[in-house]
Amino acid sequence: MSDSPREHGHPATEPARGAGESPGVHARVDANPEELARRTAELARKAAEFQILRRVSSDINSTLDLEEIYDVALRTMDELFEFNHANILLPEPGGETLAVVASRGYENQATGGRVRIGTGVIGVVAQKRKMLHVNNLGQQRAYAAAQRRQMMRSGRATEIGDAVPVPGLPNAESQIAIPLLIRDELIGVFSIESPVRRTFSEHDRELVTIVANQIATAIHNARLYEERRRAAEALQAANVSLEARVAERTAALERELRVAEELLSDARSRVEGPLIGESATVHALRDAIAREAARTEPLLLTGPPGAGKEAVAHAVHGASRLRGPFIFVSCPELHTQHRHVPVDSRSAIRPEGLLLASKLELASGGTLFLEAVHELPLELQPALQKMLENHASFRSGDESHVSDVRVIASTTRDVARDVQSGRLTPLFRLLSRNRIVVPALADRREDIPALVDHFVRRLARRFGRVVDGVSPEAMRRLETYMWPGNIRELRTVLERAILVSRGTVLEIDEELLDEKLAVGSYRLVSLLGSGGMGEVWLARHRLLARPAAVKLIRPDAQLGAAHDQLVRRFQREAQVTAGLRSPHTVQLYDFGVNDGGSFYYVMEFLEGLDLHQIVSRFGPQPTERVITFLRQACRSLAEAHEHGLVHRDIKPANLFVTRLGPEYDYLKVLDFGIVKNQPGQDATMLSAQGILQGTPAFMAPELVFGESRVDGRADLYSLACSAYWLLTGQLLFPASTPAEMLLHHVRTSPVPPSQVSELPVARELEAILMMCLEKDPAKRPLSALDLDSQLARVPCEPWMQDRARAWWETHAPDVVARRSF
């Protein structure tokens, strides 16, 4: 605007005007040519200003980019005022300084200069928020410098501060600084400078104010936009993060839901599984459940471990009219759980009782399930019994507090046998009035395919596997396996099979089942026989691959002191037995107590037949062969008796005949001194003093009397009974009950075998046997060795190996041909 009429000032006669007026447009135009030219120039200047203002309004409002706004602002100010040097400064965080964000016209000045608020023209404008024009800066600085010198000369130098450099022209003569304001908020400062003195009219002030307002608004809008853009970005980022977290949480919840569904499915499977199947056994079980569900009396569930007694209890509860909860109590764990029960020291009730009482209260209107009730502490049994009898409150014993809880208990004990033997506690007598026998899986093998299908489908879904089923071979193996762990074991085996399976058809290899049937270093291979409370398994050493026979015996004793005493006795006797070296005593490899609390001992595996089987299958045996068997048994007994160990259960089933290398009819005495287990009879007992032991058919009178001092001659009596069986094929005393038979042993004189046997019996042998069968031990042979000597003197044709071999080849060729494993 070098031709701007502003530089020449306005005519003195022209009144002051506002910026919005158009001077001269409505005024009278004089005929004076100079005045006309001036008016024309004024109009041109106004038009130019209008164009600039219109353009700046358009340009500055068409962008939200700060750099573009600065550029438009600097260019516009330059076009309007031609100061040629301009700065735009914005407040810095903290509010104490301004920083140059854009500049124009300075050769050596980049943006980034800084001004303290309150210092210099710009700083004072920022502080006062008013426009300031100074056009005699040089004089002002000179005046201030003169004052400085004057003060220094007058000794007031300490009052003077340091000069503060400010961005801009060092030799500026004129400077205008305009605050950029939005509703009193300082947006920044626009500063223009000139090295020469420049006037700045009221019109210029108004003009620059208009432009400054435009700049302030544009900067403010751009910054708002930027802030909102950043906020939007932050919001978007937060949304993305939130969405990710929601998705993550959703996924976690879905996983938890799946796990919960699996657990529910698993729980249902545990409950429903045992009742699956169409066998007659399961139908009978379902009928029993329906019958018991309609009753309220206590119910006792018996059956082997893992057979599904808890599931049956759930089924009874579910089918009943009870609407209360089903409360589970593990009786073996009462000992450990009661530690968490607050105890009132004044109360006579033990912590276990308090815990049981609290469970009873929880079960109000529902069912209290006492798992393994045979392990309920003895001291709690009377209180529970009283509650069951009178429906009284367990805690107070007050019969006015009628209990509305249905009690269902479970046990693995053979209650039927205990009933017969009269060994039940009063509580058990009460509980056993209503019983359901939950069958072992081995007793319902026809249900195995349905159970396998049920568990495989549920477990496969739980583990996220695709399983079509089990292979025919695997199914055959599952159907023939003994399942000592019952349904629980079946489920575990299938679970493992699914986890290790690589295909869709499950294979159940032998190892998978073997692993479940291991005692010590031996894997159980197949069940050889079972009865009473014991089982005998063919086993194999894990490393040596040596065949062995493992006998498992479930102790008939509760956990606690009695069990511990039993274990110690078992260990002691096993150690003594292991010390026997007679080749006619079965060799003991190992013994112990497994995780289930069962005793086991591992002995050499023998191929052959016991004397009970031989006579049962092939009839009485000739004298010479009987003598051969008896003499071998005597050698075994002689060593044992020498160690003070009385067998107490000599009988044909414990006299096993095998082939030892080339030698046939090699006899081994089994079950030496450890545990007496008589298959087919409910008389499995440990050899504790004062307890009736042995098998009634072969029991010496002194054992019947329960005498405390029993010696090896009791075994000689039993051996003679066994010989009687061998020679005649009949028991010494036929009787209909064990008690009657025992009475015969005490009172009745035996009939000589020669009068009973269909085979001839050597007279000398008969005499020896009758001596052994004397009621008074003192009248029997002195010892096993004595008996052996007497037998050796019986005149008869010797039982030679070729006859023995011929016998085996004729009667049991498979045994002769078979090699263990």
Binding site: A16, G118, G120, G123, V125, K128, K130, Y143, R148, T199
Partner: protein
């Protein structure tokens, strides 16, 4: 031409802070001349002069309220002679603030804050205004 009102064209001259010379006279007739940093336009009949260090000037004005001020129009190349009469001093208000702002701007940048400052805005009534021939025109 002499007038008793400040003409419109003198306003930008005053607002732009053109340096001025002020002459006062003591009661006993001794004159004193000094340089003014600001002559502020108040209205057509009043102007404000900055009171900073002029102890002699102030004393003279207190004794003899008459003052003579000469201002220069650097763009119009004209000078103006103002005869004034002291009326009052203001230490606050819009006139004081406007004058103080400029002084503070210079003082703060030259290390003279607190020293080089406006002490008061002295308000004078305009007795006469006369435009003088410019030096260039005179020569």
């Amino acid at each position: 031409m002499r007038t008793t009102r400040l003409p419109a064209e003198i306003r930008p001259v005053l607002d732009n802070g053109v340096p001025a010379v002020m002459v006062t006279c003591s009661a006993d007739g001794v004159p004193n001349a000094t340089v003014l940093s600001q002559v502020y336009y108040v209205d057509e009949t009043h102007a404000a002069l900055s009171f900073q260090f002029f102890s002699k000037t102030i004393r003279n004005v207190r004794e003899n309220p008459r003052a003579y001020v000469c201002v220069f129009d650097i763009t119009g190349h004209a000078s103006w002679a103002l005869q004034l009469e002291f009326q009052r001093s203001e230490t606050e208000g819009p006139i004081f603030d406007a004058m103080e702002m400029q002084i503070e701007a210079i003082a703060s940048a030259t290390g003279m804050s607190g020293i080089f400052k406006l002490r008061a805005a002295d308000i004078y009534r305009v007795l006469s205004v006369e435009r003088l021939p410019s030096p260039e025109a005179a020569s």
